[in-house]
């Protein structure tokens, strides 16, 4: 099986508003893909379409299945955390584990219990007594114990403090991810996921503006600290973004050879956040 998710001309309209505008993309197995875009860019809509939660136009296959008509079969292999802290308030930790163990054929109970044992969650605790961070820990414990082929995370750490956030991604990477699994993450906190991503997809106004592996991104984009006397020469190479730090110009180039750029000043790989800001320039203007 080549692609876990493949989309052809995927379109979603809400009335006259176009949320996704005929996008094409492929996500191969064994990747961790960051789907990154500003608010209202269509990233959550894309994920909802892939999870069979909303109707859409165009073609979309998730593990070879159509999420519109084959959702029940699809959910055997797909798991998702949509939004933070959405577990029902009356649910007890013990009951949650029992329930998922009872209905999910791929759930490994001991795994969930082991993970819970490392937190401050107690079996008799109800969700309404937990902090937001603890709810996410419980949810993650349940999800990580499911041997799903595709895990979709939509803003899984929004509103959590940095300790919970770091731990969340660390657990995901160390205890969950392997070459048979695929993870798709959307988040605003780009800095925290960029080191775990293998692929990057930028989405803007319902269109994909960048889809590349992290390696390709590293080759394509270079940031250069340009001293004042070389600014004109640098501008001739058409930087896609430019800002000033301590009197020096920091310029971002797309597809200009590194050798050529190093003549202009100190080069380095841009952070995903800088790349994102440069790509999304003018979104809210």
């Amino acid at each position: 099986m080549s692609a876990v998710i493949s989309a052809r001309n995927l379109t979603k309209k809400y009335g006259k508003q176009t949320a996704i505008d005929g996008i094409d993309f492929e996500i191969p197995a064994g990747r961790i893909v960051g789907l990154i875009g500003p608010n209202g860019s269509g990233k959550t809509t894309t994920l909802k379409a892939a999870l069979g939660l909303i109707p859409f136009e165009g073609e979309l296959r998730v593990m070879g299945l159509d999420p519109r008509t084959q959702r029940d079969a699809l959910m055997q292999d797909v798991c998702f955390i949509a939004d933070v802290a959405i577990l029902p308030r009356w649910l007890k930790v013990r009951d949650a584990v029992d329930f998922v163990a009872g209905i999910h054929p791929r759930f490994d109970r001991s795994r969930a219990e082991r993970y819970i044992a490392n937190t401050r969650l107690k079996p008799e605790m109800k969700v309404k007594q937990m902090s937001k961070g603890m709810i996410v820990q419980l949810h993650l414990a349940l999800v990580m114990a499911i041997d799903a082929k595709l895990l979709v995370l939509d803003e899984p750490t929004l509103g959590l403090d940095i300790l919970y956030r770091k731990q969340f991604y660390q657990n995901l990477l160390e205890d969950y991810f392997d070459e048979n699994k695929t993870i798709v993450i959307t988040t605003h906190q780009v800095e925290e996921v960029e080191h775990i991503l293998t692929d990057l997809m930028f989405i803007r106004d319902g269109k994909i503006v960048l889809a590349a592996s992290m390696d390709e991104v590293g080759e394509r984009y270079v940031e250069v600290m340009v001293p004042a006397d070389k600014v004109n020469a640098a501008n001739a190479l058409q930087p896609i973004d430019q800002r000033t730090v301590f009197g020096k110009s920091v310029m971002l180039f797309d597809g200009v050879s590194r050798a050529q750029l190093s003549a202009l000043g100190e080069t380095r790989n841009p952070s995903v956040a800088d790349l994102f800001v440069a790509t999304m320039k003018g979104t809210y203007a």
Partner: protein, 328 residues
């Protein structure tokens, strides 16, 4: 099958308060009240040695104890009446059921959309039809069965307390009551009415689930307001049409449609408006077995099946909405 078992358990976890604690509290209040009266009566001697005195012109002409009056034959008869009718004592508990079930159905497909936990349930391999079916079974089978259990136990306890009260007067009915087979069959007769209840309650449950899975807010207002406003409009149209000598038969529609949508969860709703005749009260009160017979007989009425079909259609609508409603 296994999934259904866990889904039913899930409903039970969430709604234990309504389906178990509410009838149980009603039961405890009833038992405590009766026990208090009996206990007070027996301990203060107000119930013992009561005698019947006949005076003529102030002169006592006859005096006899209750125990002497109750002949062997009349004791058997009293026991018979008691064993046949004691279950009626549980009636207040059966009023709890439709109330709880009504609000349960309204919340069933709405609450998890409101708090967005639907996204958690939907992340598990459970089809929407299984989910809706589990709510249906909870409201129509599980809840009535629990209610019957609690109501029967309550009625039995109160019957025993009554036995204590009359034995304080020297009339021991325990033997004939406890050996009367109807004592044990009554709860079974009630359970045997559940299928009838399911069919008559389907339109109400279907309507409530439909609203529950459709409304973005104010489910109660939609579920009750729409039929009531429709009823008022129908009445008004009928009034206007009457000026031209025509009618749309508003009363008939209100009786058959609006009531079916809103009142179907009341146990024995099929006896309402004389739709199905309640069996005539015999010498020993209404015999539960003939009530059971009349209940099953109510299924011969076409309304039962038209209503059930409409209920099923609305449930299918609820499943479809559950499948595609975008929760934003």
């Amino acid at each position: 099958m296994n999934t259904m078992k866990w889904l039913l358990r899930r409903e039970f976890w969430e709604h234990k308060g309504g389906f178990v604690w509410a009838p149980l509290i009603a039961a405890v209040i009833m038992v405590v009240l009766v026990a208090g009266v009996v206990g007070y009566g027996v301990s203060s001697g107000k119930m013992s040695g009561d005698s019947i005195t006949v005076r003529v012109g102030g002169t006592e002409v006859h005096r006899s104890q209750m125990a002497d009056l109750a002949t062997r034959h009349s004791r058997t008869e009293m026991a018979d009446v008691a064993a046949n009718n004691y279950i009626a004592i549980g009636a207040p508990i059966f009023i709890v059921l439709p109330t709880v079930a009504f609000f349960y159905c309204l919340a069933a497909l709405y609450d998890d959309r409101r708090d967005r936990s639907i996204l958690f349930w939907k992340s598990l391999p459970i089809s929407d039809s299984t989910t809706v079916l589990s709510k249906l079974l909870t409201a129509l089978v599980l809840a009535p069965a629990i209610t019957i259990g609690i109501a029967s136990a309550t009625a039995f306890l109160i019957l025993m307390l009554a036995g204590v009260a009359v034995s304080a007067q020297g009339v021991n009915l325990f033997g004939p009551v406890l050996s009367n087979v109807n004592l044990y069959l009554s709860p079974v007769y009630l359970l045997a009415m559940i299928p009838v209840y399911v069919l008559w309650a389907l339109p109400t449950v279907g309507w409530l689930l439909l609203v529950s899975s459709w409304a973005r807010s104010k489910v109660f207002l939609w579920a009750v307001g729409v039929p009531l406003i429709a009823a008022v409009l129908l009445k008004w149209m009928d009034y206007l049409l009457a000026l031209y000598g025509a009618t749309i038969n508003a009363d008939w529609i209100i009786n058959n449609v609006v009531e079916t949508l809103l009142l179907g969860l009341i146990p024995g709703a099929w006896f309402m408006d004389g739709g199905t005749a309640m069996p005539a009260s015999a010498q020993h009160g209404v015999d539960l077995l003939s009530v059971l017979g009349a209940s099953w007989g109510s299924l011969a009425r076409p309304e039962a099946w038209v209503g059930a079909a409409a209920g099923v259609a609305m449930i299918l609508g609820a499943i479809r909405l559950r499948r595609w409603r975008d929760e934003g």
